[in-house]
Symmetry: C2
Subunit: 142 residues, 2 copies
DNA sequence: CTTCATATTTAGAATAGTTCTTATTCCTTG
DNA sequence: CAAGGAATAAGAACTATTCTAAATATGAAG
């Protein structure tokens, strides 16, 4: 389990690696993402951050999320037309979108799976990232 | 190569299978998608359809594209935040998004690849579709 | 510990893409 | 040909996001 302090430090480290500052807003937003990993939208994050930091603005939430994505601490995921969702899971994983409930589940991938998928690329296609999205029905209890 | 007549008939067939009508607008939009398979946006399709049918409205383009998607004649693809793109390729394939040019390439998948990917799902996850999106650099001439 | 330059935040306006609403037109069937 | 449902057109409305400008905070340099 990651303690709050540890993740703050990790955040500060990543930010300064990129020449960025650690700010209270960025910390709150990152902690919100870590606390409930249900792939929230920017609006969701805004709502969850507000109790801890009432003056925070939605624009800041967007800014911070974008910053976290650029530091590789958070992944942005887009399902169809809806709002972008944010995910602090850094391990290689796919996403399963439950069409009945709208919920999104992380699917851990066995090591090598992404390389195996990349192997289908024709010569000279150089992929920096692979995203796999399943759609269907997830087990009800999961 | 698919003749215009053939694709019109295929379209009419698919539509009536779903209890929908074949209309001039739907035919033009489908033919626009078949003619240039560069994953156009709705606005692109609108612009390409207008010369053939000057009175067509953007709302109709959206309606028809949605209809075609529901008939399984067209796939809608979403890369990050941008507009939805449309693809008339019905064979199992992945998409490669060239980050330098913004172009999208279809990547044909070997038979069985999708099942292989589905095999990573834990029990009771039942996927109706799998989408694979690569991002990176494509060969310049492709 | 000030001062300066810059990074960040805020609030609200602006924008892009899409969906909705309403009226009209077009088929299809009786 | 009349009625009813399906489809289209035009533009308003909406949602998610980005932009803009001003205020604030931060870190570095003296």
């Amino acid at each position: 389990m990651v303690s709050n302090t540890d993740s703050s430090e990790a955040l500060a480290q990543r930010l300064s690696d990129s020449g960025l500052r650690s700010t209270p807003q960025r910390e709150v937003i990152y902690s919100v993402l870590l606390k409930k990993r249900d792939h929230p939208t920017a609006e969701d994050v805004f709502a969850r951050a507000k109790p801890e930091m009432p003056m925070i603005s939605l624009a800041t939430v967007y800014n911070c999320l974008e910053t976290l994505v650029q530091c590789d601490l958070v992944r942005a995921v887009n399902f169809e037309r809806g709002p972008t969702r944010y995910c602090p899971n850094l391990r290689p994983h796919a996403h399963f979108h439950d069409e009945a409930t709208g919920a999104t589940h992380d699917i851990e991938l066995p090591p090598g799976m992404l390389d195996q998928v990349k192997a289908v690329l024709p010569p000279h296609f150089d992929a920096t990232s692979v995203e796999i999205i399943f759609r269907g029905k997830a087990p009800s209890k999961a």
